[in-house]
């Protein structure tokens, strides 16, 4: 049994009021996540990659119970959490934690670092003294004197470390990291990624990384899933996906990641157009209007999920 098992998860957002929808004869909502299945083993890292609007952050919010699933199942440690009660959530929130996207913005500007890192302990009625603060700061490589500082006195990288310390305070089994390096400088990004790797090695926490940055995925994840319009287009071990992408969108995304070399000379695949709206999905394959390899049957047939060894993809004409 995996630590986290998600099966055919669907998440809807309302588009207009129910009455208005009924009068216009249109559906009331749309599917932001349309049937997603994945698993994370204990101690493993999964990368969820996609462009904005692909539904990756929606999945994270649903895993943490901040948004309700429309259908499908999420089992965490064997327990179904889509139907969990408030009492169950109190325990679940100890075992799953979240690192928010904006390193400084996710810290209250009026609390000192010592209060910030021990806040989760206080909420869950555990001892939250100076010793705990020092221990948590040590865990993320910050000296104890940082305890007295306020968030505005921290650099981006230091604020991110405080965020990691907060997320690890309750010794979770799963850490959800939403864009852990967004807004950080290149020289600090490596620092945060090394820290996550190190923490995982030490505590065995499973990590779900949500990002649009492929460079990051390559260096910290074991498996990766690529999302487009609320569906997975490809999933598999990171090495294999980078080595040989099977879905044209994956290929385009990998190629849109420019190498810092003016003579790289690599032929890039340029996608035309933009991501369509999930309110108005294209017929057939979601990706066919932008796909450089689209063929005549792509607009007609919705491709099934094809499993091939450890990986899977959703394409009629895989590469």
């Amino acid at each position: 049994m995996s630590l986290l098992e998600v099966e055919d998860l669907r998440i809807r957002y309302p588009r207009m009021g129910r009455l208005r929808a009924a009068l216009k004869g249109e559906p009331h909502g749309f599917e932001a996540v349309a049937g997603v299945s994945f698993e994370i083993e204990a101690g493993q890292t999964l990368g969820l990659v996609g462009e904005s609007g692909s539904g990756k952050s929606t999945i994270a919010r649903t895993l943490l119970g901040l948004k309700e699933a429309a259908s499908g199942s999420i089992r965490f440690d064997g327990q179904e959490i889509t139907s969990a009660s408030a009492r169950d959530w109190a325990r679940l929130r100890r075992e799953m934690s979240m690192m928010w996207q904006d390193p400084v913005g996710s810290l209250s500007p009026r609390l000192k670092v010592s209060s910030l890192v021990t806040e989760p302990l206080r909420i869950h009625g555990q001892k939250a003294g100076r010793d705990e603060a020092t221990r948590l700061l040590g865990l993320v490589g910050l000296p104890a004197e940082f305890a007295g500082r306020y968030p505005h006195q921290l650099s981006g990288g230091q604020a991110r470390r405080v965020g990691v310390a907060r997320a690890l305070a309750l010794d979770p089994k799963l850490l959800v990291a939403d864009e852990p390096t967004a807004g950080l400088d290149m020289s600090v990004q490596g620092e945060v990624l090394n820290l996550l790797n190190e923490v995982q090695k030490r505590t065995g926490v499973a990590i779900l990384v949500i990002t649009h940055n492929l460079n990051l995925v390559r260096h910290i994840t074991d498996r990766m899933a690529i999302m487009y319009l609320g569906r997975f287009v490809e999933q598999g071990p990171t090495e294999q996906v980078f080595g040989h992408p099977r879905h044209p969108y994956t290929e385009a995304l990998l190629s849109a990641n420019p190498e810092p070399d003016p003579d790289s000379g690599r032929a890039r695949i340029r996608l035309s157009g933009e991501v369509p709206s999930p309110v108005n999905r294209p017929s057939g394959c979601d990706f066919h209007p932008r796909c450089p390899h689209a063929q005549s049957d792509c607009p007609r047939i919705v491709p099934d999920w094809t499993v091939e060894g450890e990986r899977g993809y959703r394409c009629l004409h895989p590469l």
């Binding site: 490596g190 090394n194 260096h219 910290i220 990171t238 990641n257 420019p258 890039r268 340029r270």
Partner: protein, 335 residues
């Protein structure tokens, strides 16, 4: 070898010489730019690279006179066709902005007016033009076409929030080019966009620059896009330009230890998957009290006593390629 004009000396459009700029803060002046010297050649794309707080945006804003009130230029000049942009009056700036110098900002949602249609904003920007409303409208459509917006006629009547992020940035580019400026400043124009859109915008900028022949200053912290787009590159650190050269020289033969360290940190350059990524230890120096010697000394793996005492000048590495590092001092190498 792709077509280049690297050997020919291109004419200079804007020449920044020894520019120093301070910000007034409660705890004293912050020396945000220190003796910056940089030439923007005509008809080429210059990339300005560096991490946050290095002064790259401050330099870009000083080229279009959009500095905040607590900034003051304390030395040097910015020469452009006999004008000194460092010491212009507000009325003189108004004649330059939007005619000879234009800018694209990071976030297209906040740089467009949310309560006015795209078309109205594109007409407003042509207020100096004496042509009729219909002619201005036709010109707006023409430029929306230039930036490859489908069905441009109908887009004139939409509000910015009805467009996607990529489309909005295209509108901003169209507006910036509408007046056919000599210098286009682009401050992180692709940072707010997704990877596939980012490449579209980079391609578009490259194509339009070729078409209009303007000079472009492209400010970015993303080394990949800079390598893809720019002809020349300047690297900034702690308020100084520490290295200048053509994109090939900088990316293939970085001379300054900071540039080298920055490249090493870029996960895009590390081909093998690794769990231990390189970083630059230490932090930026406090620009209220910039160090006496080399600004990068405290974090530099090659630092030696001379770096602490003597501020390095720009040493020539190659034709058109120089860097602020004592390691490049040839008299030292001989001794």
């Amino acid at each position: 070898m792709p077509e280049t004009n690297e050997t020919a000396q291109p004419e200079t459009l804007v020449s920044v010489r020894d520019l120093s700029l301070d910000f007034d803060t409660l705890s004293g002046p912050l020396h945000a730019l220190r003796n910056v010297t940089l030439a923007l050649p005509k008809g080429r794309i210059t990339g300005l690279v560096g991490e946050s707080g290095c002064g790259k945006s401050t330099l870009a804003y000083s080229l279009i006179g959009l500095l905040p009130g607590n900034a003051s230029i304390v030395g040097g000049e910015i020469a452009m066709d006999g004008l000194d942009l460092a010491h212009l009056r507000a009325s003189e700036w108004r004649k330059l902005r939007g005619t000879r110098i234009a800018m694209i900002f990071q976030d297209p949602m906040t740089s467009l007016n949310p309560v006015t249609t795209v078309g109205q904003q594109m007409l407003d920007i042509q207020y100096r033009d004496r042509s009729s409303r219909a002619e201005k409208r036709a010109k707006a459509v023409e430029f929306l076409e230039q930036v490859q917006i489908p069905d441009p006629e109908s887009k004139l009547d939409v509000y910015p929030h009805q467009l996607s992020g990529g489309m909005r940035q295209r509108v901003c580019i169209a507006m910036a080019l509408l007046t056919q400026p000599d210098l286009l400043i682009a401050d992180e124009p692709t940072t707010a966009l997704d990877a596939t859109l980012e490449m579209q915008i980079v391609d578009l900028l490259k194509e339009l620059q070729g078409k209009f022949g303007c000079s472009v200053l492209f400010v970015s912290h993303h080394l990949g896009t800079v390598a893809e787009l720019c002809d020349d590159v300047a690297v900034m650190y702690a308020g100084e330009v520490v290295e200048r050269g053509t994109a090939r020289q900088i990316f293939h033969d970085p001379a300054h230890p900071y540039t080298q360290a920055l490249f090493e940190c870029d996960p895009g350059r590390i081909r093998e998957a690794t769990r231990e990524l390189p970083t630059i230890p230490g932090t930026l120096p406090d620009l209220r009290r910039p160090p006496r010697g080399c600004a990068f000394r405290a974090r530099c793996p090659h630092a030696w006593p001379r770096c602490a005492d003597e501020h390095p000048p720009l040493y020539l590495r190659d034709e058109g390629h120089d860097a602020r590092c004592h390691l490049l001092d040839e008299t030292e190498a001989v001794a």
